[in-house]
Amino acid sequence: MTPDPALRSEDAPFRLQGRLVLGEAKGLLDSLRKQEETLRGGDTFPIDLSEVSEIDGASAAILLGSVRRLRDKGVTCEISGAGEGVREIVSLYESATSKKPGEPKPQTGMIVDVGRGTLALVLGIKEVLGFVGQVVIEALGVIRRPQTGNWRDIVPIAERSGADAVPIVVFINFLVGFVMGFQGAKQLKMFGANIFVADLVGLSVTRELGPLMTAIILSGRSGAAFAAELGTMKVSEEIDALRTLGFGPMRYLVLPRTLALVLVAPVLTLLADFVGIAGGLLVGVTSLNLSVAGYWQETRKVIHAWDINSGLLKAVAFALVISLISCQQGFATTGGAEGVGRRTTTSVVSSLFALILVDTAFTVFFRVFDL
């Protein structure tokens, strides 16, 4: 059925004949392989199908696979003379095989994954930094012309993220102070240093745990809300609509949220400090035989203004981090409800990660400069 390759002269077409069905596939493959070995780039290799009466999928695939390999090598390959039935089958397989060249196989493996992950992280950081830059520019614009700012929304947002968060901030921080005191009590009792539980709780709450726990609550409540709110506005074109009405989304949406959070975070942190100390006091009074006055006096002795102020400074930084990350994630939302969910998750996870990083940086900085 297939011609002897030796009989083919330089320019004569490669002529196939008869029925090319599964039984003939092996012969066809072998003879095409032989041709492939002899041909080089720049050669021409016409294939004549005029005498083929029938072709099946297997032979068509073999033929087209061979044509593709030859074309990749640079050989000019043309199929001609096919009858209607044959042509239909060949073109059916042609569309399936022609997609393959040019599309590199997706690479997998640990190194590739690490590379991709790193790239995504770097691009993510770049996006956030670009966003922060834009926000700073807009903020400067508002400082120059205060009437262009959206001041109306600050109070409602501050109420939602501040006043509404008071119960949970009080509850969590009271428990944190209580647990700290409880854990410390047993150790301190062994040395008879009962009164130092006030130092332990007071310092760790004001310098570290008060701001951090408050920021974690804010990121879970307000950060997630910001991301979901802005994300929904983005996917429902509301942000575009605002832009067409002449409202910059940064000015109108991001700045009031950021400012509101920066205003409420220190207030909540102060509250957290207070109830945290109260939690420690409860432990001191109930299980360490301390008096309320004694505990309070020890706390006042050990805590300086800077301990509280450094915590408030952290709170401001945390508020900025939470607000900027969640608003950026909200604006980056694409693809409907699922996208909103994904971005909200990312915003909370990245905020928590960033909070711990910033907190560490602050603590190291304060320690190094002995503040």
């Binding site: 074109e237 509301e238 575009d240 609509a241 605002l242 832009r243 067409t244 009405l245 002449g246 409202f247």
Partner: protein, 300 residues
């Protein structure tokens, strides 16, 4: 300056070789396209033909990758931020999914833009909003929240919000998508009503061929980022051109049954009425530099 204008006014909007690509994927290929004042132009095309991107470029929501966009003969890339904002204030857009602000009721949604303009007091804002709501027959829904509105109602509110500040150019993105045929025809009538009442130049992005046929003075057919045809809707839908037949067929309308629209006011008439109402031309950006720049542009 006056002579030049009298001889040949520049088109209201002109695109010169505008291309747009996202991440290397070309969505619009060097489009050249003009809109004259008073015209209603329908831009039709299938999904992915680039028509929404075109609308977003016109609206200033996207920047073209290359090419120029001119409004009243002034190239937008030569303008600074404030002048650009002035130009974009002459445009308004009706969004496909309405994009109303969920937390505000209908009245506040429509009043939103006016409240930012400090020269308007509350009674004046209220008067303007009520007038627009009444002309769209939604004054009874003023206190409803967007979530309580039907699709057709939300569309009307979207149109009201776009119209309230008195734009010259109104861009509708898929105004009839997701609406039943009856409501779609009502929306067509609203588009005509807005044009006849407020003399706006309308650009309608749509894949609804019936709608395009009903309202447009001119149809631009977009396919994979190229303009494949442009002209009078009757000619386009009766065209034998193989590139256009699918559009005519997909409309589900037999072109031979289409009859010219009786109530249709011509673009020339709208233009003439607009010119009568605005004897000093369009509201332009102020200032000496802007004036100088316009001069320079006209001379070149």
């Amino acid at each position: 300056m006056h002579d030049a204008q009298a001889v040949r006014p520049p088109p209201l909007i002109e695109m010169r070789k505008v291309s747009k690509s996202f991440d290397g994927k070309v969505v619009l290929h060097e489009l050249d396209f003009c809109v004259q004042r008073g015209e209603t132009v329908a831009i039709i095309g299938g999904s992915g033909s680039g028509k929404s991107t075109l609308a977003r470029i016109l609206m200033g929501l996207e920047k073209p990758t290359s090419g120029e966009l001119l409004v009243d003969g002034v190239c937008l890339s030569t303008l600074d931020r404030r002048e650009l904002a002035d130009v974009h204030a002459r445009f308004a857009m009706v969004f496909q999914h309405h994009a109303l602000l969920d937390s505000l009721d209908v009245f506040d949604n429509v009043a939103f833009q006016l409240r930012d303009e400090h020269e308007l007091n509350e009674p004046e804002i209220s008067r303007r909003v009520t007038e627009v709501l009444r002309s769209l027959e939604i004054q009874d829904a003023a206190k409803k929240l967007p979530a309580e509105l039907s699709g057709g109602m939300a569309k009307r509110v979207g149109i009201a919000r776009a119209m309230v500040a008195g734009p010259e150019i109104l861009i509708y993105d898929e105004p009839t998508s997701g609406l039943d045929p009856m409501t779609s025809r009502t929306v067509d009538q609203l588009i005509e009503h807005m044009r006849d009442t407020y003399l706006v130049t309308s650009i309608v992005i749509t894949h609804d061929m019936v709608s395009a046929y009903n309202i447009a003075d001119r149809v631009v057919v977009l396919a994979s980022g190229h303009i494949v045809a442009e002209g009078d809707p009757r000619t386009i839908f009766k065209s034998e051109d193989p590139a256009l037949i699918p559009f005519a067929l997909s409309s589900g309308v037999d072109p031979s049954h289409l009859s010219p629209h009786a109530k249709h006011v011509s673009a020339e008439e709208i233009r003439a009425r607009w010119a009568k109402d605005h004897p000093h031309g369009a509201h332009r950006s102020h200032g000496f530099v802007a004036w100088l720049r316009r001069w320079k542009h006209r001379l070149s």
